[in-house]
Structure formats: C-alpha cells, structure tokens
C-alpha cells in the first residue's frame, strides 16, 4: 500500500463518518427542501412538480407581504435598536460611567436567560385585556372596557412585540460588545487620556474602529435571527389578531404544519434563506468599504 493510498484511506476513515452525518442531517434536508419548494406535497403522496407557481402565490399573498413587512421591522429594531443600545450599554459599563456596573450588567443580560415562552406569557400578563396595566388604565380612564387599541391595529399591532424583542435581546449584544471591549488594552486608552483625548474622541478614534468586525458579526446575527424569529411572537400573539403580528416563519409554520402544504412551506423557507443572504451580502459589501476606509 502506497503512502498516498494510506493517506487517502485515513482521511476517508476519519472524515467520512462525520461527513456522512453532516450530509444526511444538513445537506440532504436543504437540498430536499429546495426541491420540494417546486412541488405540491401533502406529506403523504408523491410530490407534484409545479415549478415556480408556489413562489408566485406566496409573493402575491397579502398575508405573506404583511409578514415580510413585520420581519423587516424586526430587522430594523435589531440592527438600529438592539445593536446600538447594546453597544452604548456595554460602553457605559466598560468605562464604568455608572456606579454598580456589575449589577446593571447582570440585570440587562437577565431577560436572555428566560425562555421566550415565559417572556411572552409575562408580557401578555401585563398588557392583556385582563392584565395589570389594562386594569390600571381602566381605573385611570374610568372606563371598564378600556383595551390597548394598538394591539388591534393592522399597522401598529407589531410594535408592542418589537418592544419586547428589544427588551429581551439587547442584553445579548451588550455582552458580546462588553467581551470585545475588554480585549482592548487599557494602556491604549490610558495613553489617550494622558494625551488629553476626550471621551468622544476615545470612542470615535480608538474603540469604534477596533470594533468594526464585531459590529458586522452582530449585524449578521441580528438579520438572520430576525428573519427566522418565531417562538416569542408565536407564544405572545400566535401571529394574530387576523395575521397582524404574523412573521414569515409563522406563515411558513401554519401552511406547513396546519394545512399539510409541505412544498409551499419549503418555498417560504427558501425565501427566508434568500432574504437573509441578500441582506447579509449587502451588509458585507458596506463593511468592506468601511474597512477599506478605516483599515488603510
């Protein structure tokens, strides 16, 4: 047996099983899902090839478009809400601009340790028509039938959900930023202070440029996480009333698992992946430009 054959056999023996498992659990389902998206399949019969018909149906469905709009709101809140807020909070704690920073660090991170279903029930208890805030509002307005009309508006029903998403996930980004801030050598900042740099200059000229990569990573997390968001919203509103708070993942779930439309559900999942890739590619190119500008 030649050395080359032996090497080949070793590679096959060592990598083969892992590769086979990976292919079976990851590659095959993805390929299966993409193929299914061009078919009508109830899960019990032989799939019927329908080409792009289901994609056309999805894109022309107002429920899907409203779900997409809600998803884009979640992306916006994640990218322009959670990440900046997480960064600011991490910066305040890192620079010890507030007393008891360890306490705040724990408190801000706390929501992420709770299950999304528990968070949903908690906020439902607060804002539900039988919840404490509604009861308080009823006594203030002296109106026993008072309810938050925002929850019944097609345009605004998603906003309370966005608030809960902001409350729940900001802590994650804060911890990521804090861990990376702690990697910056204190001597660099101390030198800057000795040289007379202001807090703003330290942030703009030292901290932000060194955090560019991690900001990009968190944005990628935020986008992919936002497009597949499901558990919190499903437990909180179920996508209702009347699909007002529905997101694409719930739309996919209902069509697949309630109406036995596996091909249709696969097409929705392919759209989610496509949207994620487009948004992440756009962000990648934007950051490449920023890197070229600041990295030079």
């Amino acid at each position: 047996m030649t050395q080359k054959t032996l090497k080949g056999l070793s590679y096959t023996a060592l990598v083969g099983p892992a590769l086979a498992i990976y292919a079976f659990f990851i590659i095959f389902p993805i390929f299966f899902s993409i193929t299914l998206s061009f078919t009508k399949w109830s899960g019990l019969d032989i799939p019927k090839f329908v080409g792009l018909a289901q994609y056309r149906e999805i894109i022309s469905d107002p429920i899907f478009r409203h779900g997409l709009r809600n998803n884009l709101w979640i992306v916006a809140v994640s990218v322009f809400g959670q990440i900046p807020l997480g960064f600011v909070l991490a910066y305040i704690i890192y620079r010890k601009l507030v007393l008891g920073s360890s306490f705040f660090e724990a408190m801000i991170f706390f929501p992420i340790t709770i299950s999304a279903v528990v968070v949903a029930i908690l906020w439902n208890q607060i804002f539900s028509p039988t919840g404490i805030v509604t009861a308080l509002m009823r006594s203030i307005y002296k109106n026993p039938r008072y309810v938050f009309t925002m929850f019944q508006s097609e345009t605004y029903a998603i906003f309370p959900v966005l608030f809960v998403i902001l409350w729940m996930y900001t802590g994650t980004y804060m911890v990521i930023f804090l861990a990376n801030l702690q990697n910056i050598s204190p001597s660099v900042i101390e030198s800057a202070i000795i040289d007379g740099a202001t807090e703003g200059q330290i942030l703009k000229l030292i901290i932000l440029p060194s955090m560019l990569n991690i900001i990009f990573t968190t944005i990628v997390f935020a986008i992919s996480g936002s497009l597949k968001s499901f558990d919190l919203i499903y437990a909180m509103t179920g996508g209702g009333p009347a699909h007002y708070t529905e997101v694409i993942a719930i739309y996919m779930y209902i069509n697949t698992f309630k109406y036995y439309k596996y091909g249709f559900g696969s097409a929705v999942s392919v759209i989610i992946i496509f949207l994620s890739l487009v948004l992440i590619t756009l962000i990648r190119s934007l950051f490449n430009r920023l890197e070229n500008k600041y990295g030079a």
């Binding site: 079976f24 095959f28 390929f31 299966f32 193929t35 299914l36 078919t39 109830s42 899960g43 019990l44 032989i46 799939p47 090839f49 439902n124 539900s128 028509p129 039988t130 509604t134 026993p144 039938r145 008072y146 309810v147 938050f148 929850f151 019944q152 097609e154 179920g238 209702g240 009333p241 009347a242 699909h243 209902i254 698992f257 309630k258 109406y259 036995y260 439309k261 596996y262």
Partner: protein, 433 residues
C-alpha cells in the same frame, strides 16, 4: 424530475424507518406496552385529575397492559400528530376527531377501522356518534361523547337583579347591553384569540339558524347554495352587530381561551358562550349556590331566521383510535383501552365528571345539577353542523381570520362571506365531485 422527486421521498422515508427501528419490543414477559398520544391540558387540574382517575382504573383492571403516554394540547397536539403521520411514526393508540380536524390522519389509511370490534355494540351508542367517519362507513375512533359546541351559559341571578329575562330575539339581547354594561358587567364573556371559538361556538349555530339545515347541506356541497348567500351573510352580521354594540368581553380577540370562563365564574359576565364540554370545568369551579342560578341556553332567534329556534351545533365527540399496523395481542389490548374509555365503564366515570357520553347511559339521580342540565340540553335541542367538522381546515383559517377582521372593523360580513366562498369554491374537498 419525477424520478428525482420519488428518490428524495424514498430517502426521506428510509431515514424515518432507520430511526423508527430503535423502538423497543413492546411485548415482554406477558406484559403489553402500548404507546399512546393523547390530548390533555396538563396545566388544567380539573380535567387532568379526571383523566388520571380513568387511567388508574384501567390499569388496575388490566395489569398486563402498560402505556407509554405522550401528551399534547391545542394546536401543538395537531402539529405533532401531523409530524408523526408524515414520518410514519404514529403511536399505537391515538386520540382522534371524527371529522375534518384529524381528517388527514384518519383518511391516510394508517388508522384501523374499528367496526369489526364494534360489531353488535352500535345500538348502545347515540346515533350521531355512529355516523361514518370514512368514505366507506369506517369508524376510526370510538366517540366518547356527543358534543354541543354552542351553549349560552346564563347567570340568572344577574338577570333578575337587572330586571331582565333571557332574550327571545337578537334585538332584545342587544337592547340589554347598555343596562348590563352600566353595572360594570360584561354582557357576553367569550374569547377569540385562537380564532376557532367564534367559528365553532357561535358562527356554526348562527349559520344553521340563518339558513336551516337544507340550505346548510347545499352550501357545503355548492349545490344550489353557497356561503356567499344572504343566509351566511346574515349569520356573520349577527356577530358583527354584537361586536359593534360592545356585547363581548373587551379585547375578545386578544383573550386566551379560558379567560372568559374565569370572567363568568367570577361573576363579571351575565352570559358566557362556549362549548358543552365546559360543564366539566364549571361543575368544579362554580359553588353550589352559583350552580342554582346558572342556566344553559342557546342564542336567541336572529332576524330573518330560517333555521330552528333554540338550535345548537353538535358533533360526535373525540375518542381513541388505533394504528393500522397493530395486530394480534397488541390490537386486542388497544381495543380494550378504546372500549374501556368510550364504552360503559369509562363513560360512567366521565358522565360523573360532566360529560354527555356517546354511550347511552341513564343519568344518575345524584349527578351534578349542571350535568343533568347538559344532558337535557343535548337531548332536546335541535342541532346543526359545526363548520370546522365539515369544511376543510385551510378554508376555516380564511373564514376565522375574516371574522376577526370583521370584528376589528376592517371587513363587512358580505366581504367575509364572499372571500370564504371564493376559497371554498376553488379548493374545498366538499366541492370536488
């Protein structure tokens, strides 16, 4: 392309089969172990306690049969059942619905027809419970009960205090609203966050009221009638008017199922619309004093009514079925459970807990007052169909969303009716002759 698709499906099922082979041998040392997937809200102490009484009684009588039980409730139950079906991993015993709710499962050929075991016992059950569940008259699950999906529970103490009586017409009911609200009370406690409640517990009854059974049957088949007819618009208009006149619980479309029950039990509401199955909970939640003034009614007459006064909507109840793969001792053991649960023994236990059993039993003299009332209600009230038991699930989704939008003021009853009919005409299996 077809070959590729077939290959993919084969691979998919091959994978499932590979993982399914891990199931342990179910008959050991004379003991038979059956896997069971059942419908039970484990967070509800009342029904969970009742379920355990049944289970323990069966176990004490059949020590050779053991169960490996998985629980589910509400939508997650159905979602998991569907995943089990598609993956060809249905358990031995499965909790099923007689109509469209689990129609894909019962119609898949993977559930055994119970008629060979049932033979000779048919007349011991209420006739509605023996209605065919399959195209060739199959009985896939043995119904445990006869279910009225519409009951208008009434607190007569409040009516008396307010100088009111149970309304004879929809207009009279609307007129009571102002007087009831003035006392900080809710006219009709009801929830609709999950959407099915309004369709199952009120709209189904109103549909029969508006058009009558002949029209209802024709509309389902699309033979000379449709859901775009004025009859169905009339039924929807009743809900629209109730909503616009603030008759329902505030924020009804945000309220979780169960919250209306709490409002009624805590005496915050005069009327409460839900299914007959709620007697099971009310029996234990209401005090003895309360039970004396809680009465079971149906919705009053509606304008242009062509159906029957006092009608409700009724359906054969749920029950257990068995996996078509079971044979021999395992199949017999599964039948023993199914017969225990829906037959005379289990029915007596469930009757004592407030169920109107499909198995014909005399009502015991010492039965709870609410159980006696519900038994009388079910036997005397004329009944129509429950929409989600006869129409396809996806279309029901379209209808239920439309009803919510109507209640939120974004659609008219006519729009909802037209949109539903458009879906039914194009897709519903009842229209595919």
């Amino acid at each position: 392309m077809k070959k590729l698709l077939t290959l993919l499906v084969v691979l998919f099922f091959l994978g499932n089969t590979l993982f399914a082979t891990g199931q342990k041998e179910a008959t050991k040392g004379g003991k038979i172990t059956l896997s069971m997937y059942t419908y039970q809200d484990l967070s509800d102490p009342v029904t969970t306690k009742n379920w355990k009484v049944l289970l323990n009684k069966f176990k004490s009588e059949h020590p050779n049969i053991e169960f490996s039980i998985e629980y589910g409730f509400n939508e997650p139950y159905h979602n998991k059942l569907q995943a089990m079906l598609v993956a060809d991993q249905l358990p031995d015993i499965i909790f099923l619905w007689p109509g469209k709710r689990t129609g894909k499962v019962t119609g898949s050929g993977k559930i055994k027809d119970l008629r060979p075991w049932l033979k000779g016992h048919e007349k011991e059950f209420a006739s509605i419970a023996m209605a065919p569940q399959g195209k060739n008259g199959e009985i896939y699950e043995l119904p445990e009960a006869v279910t009225a999906t519409h009951v208008m529970y009434t607190n007569t103490k409040f009516l008396k205090q307010l100088g009111l009586s149970f309304p004879k017409t929809h207009a009279e009911l609307l007129a009571q609203g102002a007087k009831i609200r003035a006392q900080n009370l809710i006219p009709i406690a009801m929830t609709n966050k999950s959407q099915w409640q309004m369709q199952s517990c009120l709209l189904s009854t109103l549909t029969e009221r508006a058009g009558g059974m002949e029209w209802f049957k024709k509309a389902i088949k699309g033979e000379g009638a449709s859901f775009a007819d004025p009859e169905f618009v009339n039924a929807l208009s009743v809900i629209d008017q109730l909503s616009k006149n603030q008759m329902f619980s505030p924020g009804i479309n945000q309220l979780d199922y169960g919250q209306a029950l709490t409002q009624f039990v805590n005496e915050k509401a005069v009327y409460y619309i839900d299914g007959g199955w709620r007697v099971n909970s009310l029996k234990q939640e209401l005090t003895t004093a309360q039970k004396k003034y809680v009465v079971l009614n149906t919705y009053p007459d509606i304008p242009n009514q062509k159906g029957q006064s006092g009608s409700t909507s009724m359906v054969a109840g749920t029950g257990y079925g068995m996996n078509a793969k079971l044979t021999g001792a395992k199949a017999d053991a599964a039948w023993q459970w199914i017969w225990f649960y829906s037959g005379p023994e289990g029915s007596k236990i469930r009757q004592a807990n407030g169920a109107i059993t499909a198995y014909k039993l005399p009502v015991p003299q010492n039965a709870d007052i609410l159980v006696k009332e519900l038994t009388k209600f079910v036997s005397e009230r004329p009944a129509g169909y429950v929409l989600d038991a006869v129409m396809d699930a996806e279309g029901i989704g379209v209808l239920q969303t439309g009803v919510q939008e109507m209640m939120l003021g974004r659609k008219t009853p006519k729009q909802v009716a037209d949109e539903y009919e458009a879906w039914v005409a194009k897709n519903d299996s009842n229209r595919k002759h």
